[in-house]
């Protein structure tokens, strides 16, 4: 089933070949990121830390709800990847 992933502009700038909005076949957030990494190697490393966990200052939402790597996806889910409000 295809889910929609919406990535931040800064990640698209960082990794050539990445697009802001795309569709992947996945049943969990972790699977979705793995599919994206197959298309643009290195992307998962930018979003996932050891653990594995989503990096501390990256927020992932599935259909508007805060999600983790093991969050299950409905067939038409939308994943928003959004950098946290942090920095200086």
């Amino acid at each position: 089933m295809a889910v929609t992933v919406i990535l931040p502009r800064s990640l698209v700038s960082l990794i050539p070949g990445t697009v802001r909005t795309c569709e992947v076949e996945a049943t969990t957030v972790d699977e979705a990121l793995a599919r994206l990494d197959e298309r643009t190697p290195g992307l998962r490393n930018r979003l996932v830390d050891s653990g594995p966990t989503i990096r501390q200052h990256i927020n992932v939402f599935v259909d508007g709800q805060q999600a983790r790597l093991d969050t299950a996806l409905s067939p038409d889910a939308t994943i928003h990847v959004i950098p946290a409000v942090s920095g200086g």
Binding site: L14, S50, R55, I58, G87
Partner: protein, 356 residues
């Protein structure tokens, strides 16, 4: 025409300055490496590649690489991990090409090696397996492996410096490491001479003489004539024992430079607000102050550990950046100085290179 470039790492991106042949008229790039905090940039003369080490608060650690002097960049952190059960690595503090490999020092303190030009990394685990590691404590900048000094000809030998832990050396290509801190005082411990715990800020090698090392430490400036097995305090004559940077002359093994800063609990800025570079011509027996062209009033600036570099010209050029974004240069071995550029973000690293 040989040009001098300055590779500058800042809290908000890397920059490359081009000083042409005479190092007096500088142009500067736009912010590089996507504006990421970049601690250190180094050039690999064997390949012509520039490497930049840093870490994004959002996207984690990475080593960037450019094969065209900064026009385009790639980046990777593949393998820059202590594993899923290990501590998380927020940033790279040092990246050093040597003998066909690239080495990266990271936070929390550890060493990684790449044999494919930075595409993938392998943990040099024996350093963190050192028996002293349970006692390793962070300094104000964190528990960081911030300096890597390769042997100029023997790939089996290398020194690294960790704050606030000390100096370590390997003579078997990283398979084992020996603490080399004898004679260095730990002024923040009831025991002033522990095996480790000395807060080395910068470790440098004398020109063409790998047995002769210098270090600017939290608690003094030191020299060693036996590869760091024994150290001797050479702070006498300096206005402060504290500072971060140290540089050595490209040809004269007796000449080195430091920038002393005020007491660590009293600001860590240019003493009295007067910025000066101090030079020793005799391996630290004596020191002389050089301040011509540097601000002598209200210069409450710091200079951080990677932010001084000496080029290979004759006479040698010296360049350093401040924690408030000024970059100063000298083309007469530190006797006179001028402002190269102002208004950069806080400067963390400066590296002078010569390219054709």
């Amino acid at each position: 025409m040989t040009r001098t470039l300055l590779l500058v790492g800042t809290s908000k991106g890397a920059f490359i300055l081009d000083g042409g042949a005479d190092r007096t008229d500088w142009s500067i790039s736009e912010p590089l490496c996507e504006g990421w905090p970049i601690h250190d940039l180094q050039w690999d003369p064997a390949t012509g590649s520039i490497y930049a080490g840093g870490g994004s608060p959002w996207y984690g650690p990475a080593v960037f690489r450019s094969d065209d002097l900064g026009t385009t960049w790639t980046h990777s952190s593949e393998g820059l991990t202590y594993g899923d059960d290990g501590p998380k690595i927020p940033t790279v503090w040092n990246v050093t090409p040597a003998h066909g490999s690239i080495f990266a020092g990271v936070e929390p303190a550890g060493l990684f090696r790449s044999d494919d030009g930075g595409a993938t990394w392998t943990h040099v685990s024996a350093l963190r397996d050192h028996p002293s590691r349970p006692g390793w404590q962070p300094g104000a900048g964190g528990l960081i492996c911030h300096t890597i000094v390769p042997h100029p000809t023997d790939p089996q030998k290398m020194w690294v410096a960790i704050s606030a832990v000390g100096t370590f050396a390997t003579e078997d290509g990283g398979a084992s490491w020996e603490a080399r801190n004898k004679g260095v005082v730990d002024c923040n411990s009831p025991d002033p001479h522990p095996e480790t715990g000395q807060c080395v800020h910068k470790l440098v090698m004398a020109a063409d003489d790998p047995d002769h090392l210098f270090q600017q430490n939290h608690c003094g400036v030191y020299r060693s004539s036996d590869g760091g097995r024994q150290w001797e305090d050479i702070s006498t004559g300096l206005p402060s024992e504290f500072g971060f940077v140290m540089g050595t002359h490209p040809r004269d093994a007796a000449t080195a430079w430091v920038i002393p800063l005020s007491h660590p609990e009293e600001g860590r800025t240019a003493p009295g607000g007067a910025l000066a570079v101090w030079r020793t011509p005799d391996r630290g027996d004596t020191w002389e102050r050089h301040d011509v062209g540097l601000p002598q009033e209200h210069a409450w600036v710091g200079v951080l550990r990677e932010a001084l570099s000496v080029d290979r010209h004759d006479p040698a050029g010296i360049f350093f950046g401040t924690s408030t974004g000024q970059l100063y240069g000298s083309v007469d071995e530190g006797v006179t100085w001028s402002l190269v550029i102002d208004h950069l973000p806080p400067i963390w690293g400066v590296q002078a290179i010569e390219v054709d």
